[in-house]
């Protein structure tokens, strides 16, 4: 007999789930417990090369208060129903809003969206999980606050809580988001409410200004994990600088990446360039200006010749370096001189500033993101090939030029074997470097979808064998990536899970933790 639910949690009968739904409706009201296919269809969309059925939720519930969440975890414990918590659910290419495992119930906190505090003197904010960057941006405008956000690519529609908890990054000097997190409120699986660090003191006003508190620093265990539900989140804001100078530097040869990274590293570590520097390959930016079918027909990876034709046609660099300077005019002038001298030594660099490029969309969206603006044009990369398939592969390395070519050669070999393109960028943090590959494929093509899965699997295997771990991954590959970090880390994570969530009701499978 067909079930009235589109999926059920593993090991939970329809009768038990009925009872849980009745309890959730008592707490949240009928309208906030979604069980019909029509209501849940938008929670099922994924971009990964696995069947959507693997990630179909049983229901979605919408909570707006801490007290409701405390009751929700009580009901989950009673009926052994697992929940997958999302704040705004914009983990695009990493699993979106769909749960890690079929039948998990989505706890959607997007309506829990109050901006609780913004302090313009101390430059911090305290928000609920559903607050979006757009809300904060509008709030700053409305109240004429000279504050900047640091946003990831989905900017307007994403939010600081979810992005930081998944250890996402932005492009301003505050771009390492977890580094700028300060204070959390967490509902634990047993219903207790924990305020981390200084938040433990009833009368403290330092919750959002001093991260460490006393004793073990706990905030970290609530990121990329499933040990609690974060219901309040504090983070630091950047004071708007008097002068902002974004720039782009183009290089035309693939091998130039070594020189680029060697030039950037000392400038980043010294703070001359204060934001993470993006070095985007032409194919990463190509969707803004062209379509893949303009350059390739038939199966297989794009040829180097076609890539060079693309960059000639659209006046792009093969490598496109983006960074910015922030400060007073004097500071920016001095640092600009240092930057141009450093990059100018070899004679290969072509400098572009706002004055040079006009309304070029490639420069425009990068310049917007490096000032925390609301601009989602980076997602034009989904139009490059088209077909709705996207998987982010994100290995970390030392910020050394030699690492770039080694990683690129390895990645291109694996991608070419599976008929996929190298659509990548390097992001130089401080001493580390993220190598971000968006594996684009067409989900309407079963053969390509299968190849994409095998390719990603091989990338994780081969890169980890060389010592390159992924800093973040999608929900289909969390166990595999967790394995690459060794059995002891997995065992410790499991021990913590058992202690904090003995019934395993909170997002089982997140980061491979059950």
């Amino acid at each position: 007999m067909a079930s009235k639910y589109i999926a059920l949690p593993k090991g939970v009968s329809e009768q038990t789930f009925d009872a849980a739904v009745t309890d959730f409706r008592r707490v949240l009201g009928e309208a906030n417990v979604l069980t019909s296919a029509y209501q849940l269809a938008s929670y099922t969309k994924i971009m990964m090369p696995v069947p959507e059925a693997n990630h179909t939720p049983s229901a979605a519930i919408l909570a707006t208060t801490v007290e409701q969440i405390q009751e929700i975890v009580g009901i989950c414990n009673k009926h052994k129903v697992p929940i997958w918590t999302i704040s705004t659910g914009k983990n695009l290419g990493y699993g979106s809003a769909a749960p890690a495992e079929r039948g998990q119930m989505v706890l959607d906190l997007h309506r829990m969206n109050r901006i609780l505090e913004v302090d313009a003197d101390l430059c911090y904010a305290l928000v609920e999980p559903g607050v979006t960057y757009r809300q904060l941006y509008d709030y700053f405008q409305e109240h004429q606050l000279p504050l900047w956000l640091s946003v990831p690519a989905p900017s307007a529609i994403a939010g600081p809580t979810g992005n930081t908890l998944d250890r996402g990054v932005g492009y301003t000097p505050y771009g390492e988001h977890f580094m700028n997190a300060c204070g959390m409120e967490v509902v634990l699986a047993n219903g207790e409410v924990l305020r981390t660090a200084m938040g433990g003191l009833p009368n403290s006003n330092t919750w959002q200004v001093f991260k460490w508190g006393y004793g073990p620093y706990l905030d970290g265990i609530f990121t990329q994990s499933n040990y609690g539900i974060v219901t309040k989140f504090g983070f630091w804001l950047m004071p708007a600088p008097p002068v902002y100078k974004p720039f782009q530097i183009q290089y035309q040869d693939e091998g130039d990446i070594v020189e680029i990274v060697e030039t950037i590293r000392p400038l980043r570590i010294s703070g001359t360039i204060p934001n993470s520097v993006v070095i985007a390959h032409a194919l990463y930016e190509a969707g803004l200006k062209a379509k893949r079918s303009d350059y390739v027909s038939g199966p297989g990876s794009i040829s180097d010749e076609a890539v060079h034709r693309l960059i000639r046609d659209h006046k792009m660099g093969l490598w496109n370096v983006y960074a910015a300077l922030y400060g007073t005019q004097e500071q920016v002038d001095v640092n600009w001189k240092i930057v141009t001298e450093a990059f100018g030594k070899s004679g290969k660099a072509k400098f572009l500033t706002e004055q040079d490029v006009g309304d070029d969309p490639q420069f425009g969206y990068r310049a917007a993101l490096m000032r925390g603006g609301m601009d989602m044009r980076e997602f034009n990369l989904y139009n490059w090939r088209g077909g709705g398939g996207s998987l982010w592969f994100a290995p970390v390395s030392q910020a050394r030029g030699s690492e770039t070519l080694k990683q690129m050669t390895l990645a291109k070999r694996i991608l070419t074997k599976h008929g996929l393109d190298y659509t990548g960028e390097f992001i130089v943090g401080m001493r580390d470097m993220h190598h971000i590959l968006d594996m684009l494929y067409d989900r309407t093509d079963p053969a390509m979808t299968k190849a994409a899965y095998q390719c990603f699997d091989e990338l994780v295997t081969e890169f980890s064998a060389q010592g390159y771990g992924s800093y973040r991954t999608n929900t289909a590959f969390m166990d595999k990536v967790a394995d690459t970090y060794g059995p002891v880390q997995r065992s410790v994570n499991r021990t913590l899970k058992k202690a904090l969530d003995p019934n395993g009701i909170l997002a089982p499978g997140k980061s491979g933790i059950r």
Partner: protein, 292 residues
């Protein structure tokens, strides 16, 4: 168009009553109405907008007196979502048919989830020569009630070119129905032996080749469905342009044109043409049908 008369009459009566009261059709019932009160076509600024609209307008003939209200996004959703949020707020009670490029579709889906819409179907459409089958259509629909594949297959089979159409249904209808299978001349039909059956309709190729084309590895356990007469969606309107055909099929389904529904969890139509295929420009887009 062969129709299930009883279903159509029920739909017409329900639609008429709702029109008289002028309230959103889904206010009363758990499931969205088959026929909407008011339908909006949202064109996302893609290269296929015009062709899709042509097909959509053709589907309106005889289906709605009101016609289609059309909204146009000039340049997708990536640079700004401000206008879309306002539009969503102002369109409460309408059925939307939307066309987007792949990038805007991702953002659009996120926006509509926040707006608590009821998503009836989402289709991904492609013509490209980098795949074993050039014309590919993959739908995720909430139930067979809102399926589009049968209408589109009936249109495509009349014209040269191979195609694959797959549909995944989040929920099969709960009510027990007399189960007819879609059936059309030239097609061989099969259902998988599992409880939540998949139906596959193959033309011009074997079952195993059909399975391979849509990415199924297991070809055992399929049960042949005998040919039945007249249980397919006959063609009322035909276009040489494939995007127009998709616009027609999506809109016809959104407006409540009845088609043969099969009680299954997944459905596929695969056709291999013997004719030499005319090369066309690569095109990809996404369609949505939803109730606001």
């Amino acid at each position: 168009m062969e129709i299930d008369r009883r279903s159509l009459m029920k739909g017409m009566l329900a639609g008429g009553a709702l029109l008289a009261f002028g309230i959103p059709s889904w206010t009363f019932a758990g499931s969205p109405a088959r026929r909407p009160n008011h339908c909006v076509l949202l064109l996302g600024g893609t290269s296929v907008d015009e062709m899709f609209e042509n097909g959509a307008r053709a589907a309106c003939v005889g289906m709605t007196d009101e016609g289609l209200q059309t909204e146009r996004l000039k340049s997708g959703l990536l640079a700004s979502t401000d206008g879309m949020s306002t539009l969503l707020e102002q369109s409460c009670g309408a059925r939307w048919i939307a066309v987007m490029d792949d990038a805007s579709a991702v953002i659009f889906l996120e926006l509509v989830r926040m707006a608590n819409v009821r998503l009836l179907s989402m289709g991904t459409h492609a013509y490209s020569r980098d795949s074993a089958c050039s014309f590919r259509h993959a739908w995720a629909a909430t139930s067979p009630t809102h399926s589009v594949g049968g209408v589109l297959a009936s249109q495509f089979i009349q014209r040269p070119g191979s195609f694959s159409i797959t549909e995944t249904f989040l929920q099969a209808p709960l009510e027990e129905r007399a189960l007819t299978s879609w059936s059309a001349p030239g097609f061989s039909s099969y259902r998988s032996g599992e409880a939540d059956a998949m139906h596959i309709h193959c033309s011009g190729l074997s079952l195993s080749d059909g399975c391979e084309l849509i990415g199924l590895t297991a070809t055992d356990g399929w049960i042949s469905i005998p040919q039945q007469r007249g249980v397919h969606d006959s063609v009322r309107w035909q276009s040489e342009n494939w995007v127009e055909s998709v616009g027609y099929a999506v809109t016809a389904s959104a407006l409540g044109m009845d088609s043969f529904r099969e009680s299954c969890s997944d459905r596929a139509f695969v056709h291999r043409s013997r004719d030499r295929e005319r090369i066309q420009p690569t095109e990809r887009f996404v369609s949505f049908v939803m109730d606001l």
